[in-house]
Amino acid sequence: MGVLDVRELTKHFGALTAVEMVSFSLEEGEILGMIGPNGAGKTTIFNMMIGVYPVTSGKVIFGGRDITGMKPHRICRLGLTKTSQIMEPFPAMTVFENVLVAALHGGQMNMADSRKKTEEVIDFVGLSAESEMPAAAVSVPSRRRLELARVLASGAKVLLLDENMAGLNPHEIDEALDLLRKIRASGKSLIVVEHIMRAVMGISDRIIVLNYGAKIAEGSPEEVANNDEVIEAYLGKRAVSL
């Protein structure tokens, strides 16, 4: 059993089944890639894992503890949180204050320790130069880093990254990948949802593939890339027969 276990997670929105019986687990220090076409249910799974959406059925076990149905802030304090696909900084607050909020509340530290932690994290993700700027004023790559910084400052042991590289150019993606490796090296585990195949294939130890809310494949990047069902999900039936 890994640090995080997702068991038969299911989500219905009315008559629509967004996620159906998805199970997977995450090992300590692992980077797990999660891919799938738009609408495959990746973001929904994240939102159920961190308590934003109530689950229809299934369980999320984190660090040996059943966290299903807990509120997001409690789950965050236990060490599991996500970065948002649509970036949601606190726009009028400075980058420093953005991260500070996570350190104070997510990390449950006092003011002095939080400030220290915030400085460390901002330095770690390479945002020191923009530390005093309002979050609304920094560039997209910096805002992506800010999301990471907030998650790190909250003391997360497992990071869920929802398309954290969207909108970055190839050079910036390389930098982002370096940063993710650095984060993993510091002892964290990650689940990465990403559309940029080069990025997700390059960094993941293992990949799971979702389509229409169900898991259709799981394995190493090479295995997944050669899986017929996966190719079909991405490219349609004819591509396979060609």
């Binding site: 934003v52 509120k71 802030h73 949180t81 204050e97 909020v101 509340h105 997510g106 003011m111 909250s154």
Partner: protein
């Protein structure tokens, strides 16, 4: 300026202004000036209470007056019907207001935007109606309906009330200071900026909002209690008046929502202007207040302090 020196500068300014304001009763013989000064700090306290909940979180409370009214009635009933002394009655006012605010906050703070505003407004109006109709409906003698309650005549001078209000208002201002520099305050501001993101980042959004709401209610209750004894006669129409809510909102907005000095500046300005306009232009007073409101919104929607902050890039105030 470093954080430490800014902090020191703040405390110097703060203590100086406290001393200056606190000495007003010593230097003036004029009962009129003393009354005006008391009124100004009463409104600073009330606007400040509104600012704690609504200014910092962006949850627009349209019924804060309800806790002022509850406080007034708690003191009035305790003193007039049970012969309680003044100070315990005021403490009771704060506690009663806070206790009532907890379940109300827990239910209404789940609502957002206009819904929260209307729900709080509805609650305030309900309480006004309850105070008006309770006795007649149940055939008892408790709230005294529209007759109102007359409190025992205070054997204190206006100076006494000045200091009572002063102490509570200073406490409200200190809460503002702590909001600007504490975990609680950063939580409130994060909720204002992006509530869902705040929750994900570990902020107990429900808990923090509720704490702000109950804190406001507590101080508003005490201010209500003090005012009841000060003017010695209360009616539901007066202590639950929508216009008190509107004053709190407008003062804070005028000064700058979610800023430390906003309520202080807004309340001082509007109370003094009202006093001048109200005595010289009695007939046109409300029309002018309406015009002032529209001008503020159109010209500087961030309020006086917010505008200065933007202009100077000051983050200190």
């Amino acid at each position: 300026m470093t954080r430490e020196s800014r902090k020191r500068l703040f405390w110097v300014c703060f203590v100086c202004s406290l001393v200056v304001v606190g000495l007003i009763p010593v230097f003036t013989q004029s009962e009129y000036l003393l009354r005006l000064a008391s009124l100004v700090i009463l409104w600073i306290g009330m606007a400040g209470c509104w600012n704690i909940t609504s200014g910092y979180t962006g949850y627009i409370d349209f019924g804060p007056v309800v806790y002022f009214g509850i406080g007034s009635y708690a003191t009035a009933i305790a003193m007039a019907k049970y012969g309680s002394p003044f100070f315990p009655a005021v403490a009771l006012s704060g506690i009663v207001a806070a206790v009532i605010s907890a379940p109300i906050g827990l239910t209404t703070l789940r609502l957002r935007g206009a819904y929260f505003a209307i729900a709080t407004f509805a609650f305030a109006e309900t309480m006004r109606q309850v105070a008006l109709e309770f006795d007649r409906t149940l055939g008892v003698s408790f709230f005294e309906g529209s007759h109102g309650i007359t409190l025992p005549m205070p054997d204190h001078e206006n100076t006494f009330f000045f200091y009572c209000i002063f102490v509570v208002t200073v406490a409200v201002v200190l809460v503002h200071y702590s909001i600007e520099h504490s975990k609680f305050g950063f939580g409130l501001k994060a909720i204002h900026e992006a509530e869902d993101a705040a929750e994900i980042a570990g902020v107990n959004t429900t808990g923090i909002k509720l704490r702000a709401y109950v804190t406001s209610a507590f101080f508003l209750g005490m201010l209500g209690g003090i005012e009841a004894y000060w003017i010695t006669y209360i009616t539901p129409a007066d202590v639950f008046s929508v216009h008190r809510t509107v004053q709190m909102v407008i003062m804070t907005l005028l000064g700058g929502m979610g800023t430390f000095l906003g309520p202080v500046v807004g309340a001082s300005f509007l109370t003094i202007v009202s006093e001048i306009l109200g005595t010289t232009f009695v007939e046109y007073y409300l029309i002018m207040v309406g015009a002032i409101i529209i001008c503020i919104i159109l010209i500087m929607p961030k309020g006086i302090i917010g505008t200065i902050k933007d202009w100077k890039g000051l983050r200190f105030i």
